[in-house]
Symmetry: C3
Subunit: 148 residues, 3 copies
């Protein structure tokens, strides 16, 4: 098991939760962008969606997501620290993500998140986000988000 | 992120888990009431159910729930400390709650819990419990619990 | 609440997560066996499956599981320390477990895990694993795994 001070472990788990809470507000772009460094890569290609570059790329994609969805809920579990080197770390978790779009389409995914993180003066931030699927992805994922 | 000693963070997360474990016993009213201060408010109005006042109010509602249900399971994730002031704290979490009633009706909800907590000589207790829905609530929730 | 040093609590939670991650690889038998002491009992009788004895028993069952399944995902929540005595501990958790078999059969269970653990020179290990059902079990569980 990777050794890591408990304070950092908790901070990293909170960072992951912060991403999910922000995504689920469907409105709070500042909270969402605050999870990432300005030049972060949010790579959604593992579930067939785009790879987003920097705050502008992330904002562009999630502006559309926030506009399209009426409900969002992302449940984290199985948090794990894969790597810790003092000022950088890699973590992973399982996420059950679900939502309903304005046109009434439901989506439910079971995925893994992989986050590379860096300690900044403003706390831990994500430099690279990647996710892949644990279970077969529903067609509604592409119908709702894939058009971008 | 709210600063909180790790011992208190863990104790608060355990308190939340204790509520779910107690609710899922479908029998252990002492364990359930032990989560709350005697004058606690358990406000379920955010999901269309009653607001319960004090141990007597909580007991009255959950006596019926325990009698009506054959299965209960409440899964916690996304634990978060919103406020910490030494002897009081506010926490939140996501919960996937499910159950089956004696008449075979299934219910499944995706909700958020918001708990105000106080440190007592007997450990942390809940003074106010509130929940609201993350995803649209099923009609079976009202069919099973709403008649009270 | 059971008193336990935070380092041990985290290590025990990591041990539980390690079991789920290993089971979900559908290939990494060494990681799976590494969770258990050589003479551990993995008792699945609480969900109608066999009780497995030692690494050989566990390997035999999971060789078949790994061969039969194309997808696996086990989500942990509601972690709880039931007992801690320095070098031994008992923990529990809720798990939402799901999978798809090669013949396209889907399975989804909501269960509780109960683990007896021991501190070894190689970290905490499971000496006894037991699980039971929180919600009615689907018929597909027996169709997929029960033939062994």
């Amino acid at each position: 098991m990777t050794q890591i001070p408990l304070e950092d472990r908790v901070a990293l788990e909170d960072l992951l939760t912060s991403y999910c809470l922000a995504v689920d507000t469907l409105s709070d772009m500042d909270a969402l962008l605050g999870v990432f460094t300005p030049d972060a890569v949010c790579d959604l290609s593992g579930i067939g969606l785009p790879s987003l570059h920097g705050h502008e790329g992330i904002r562009g994609f999630f502006d559309s997501v926030f506009a399209d969805m009426t409900h969002h809920a992302h449940f984290v579990s199985n948090f794990r620290v894969d790597r810790y080197e003092g000022d950088t770390a890699s973590i992973r978790a399982y996420v059950m993500g679900m939502g309903r779009s304005r046109d009434g389409n439901d989506v439910l995914v079971y995925v893994r998140y992989f986050l590379d993180c860096v300690r900044t003066p403003d706390g831990w931030k994500v430099t690279r986000f990647f996710e892949d699927a644990l279970m077969p992805l529903p067609g509604s994922l592409d119908e709702i988000h894939g058009k971008r």
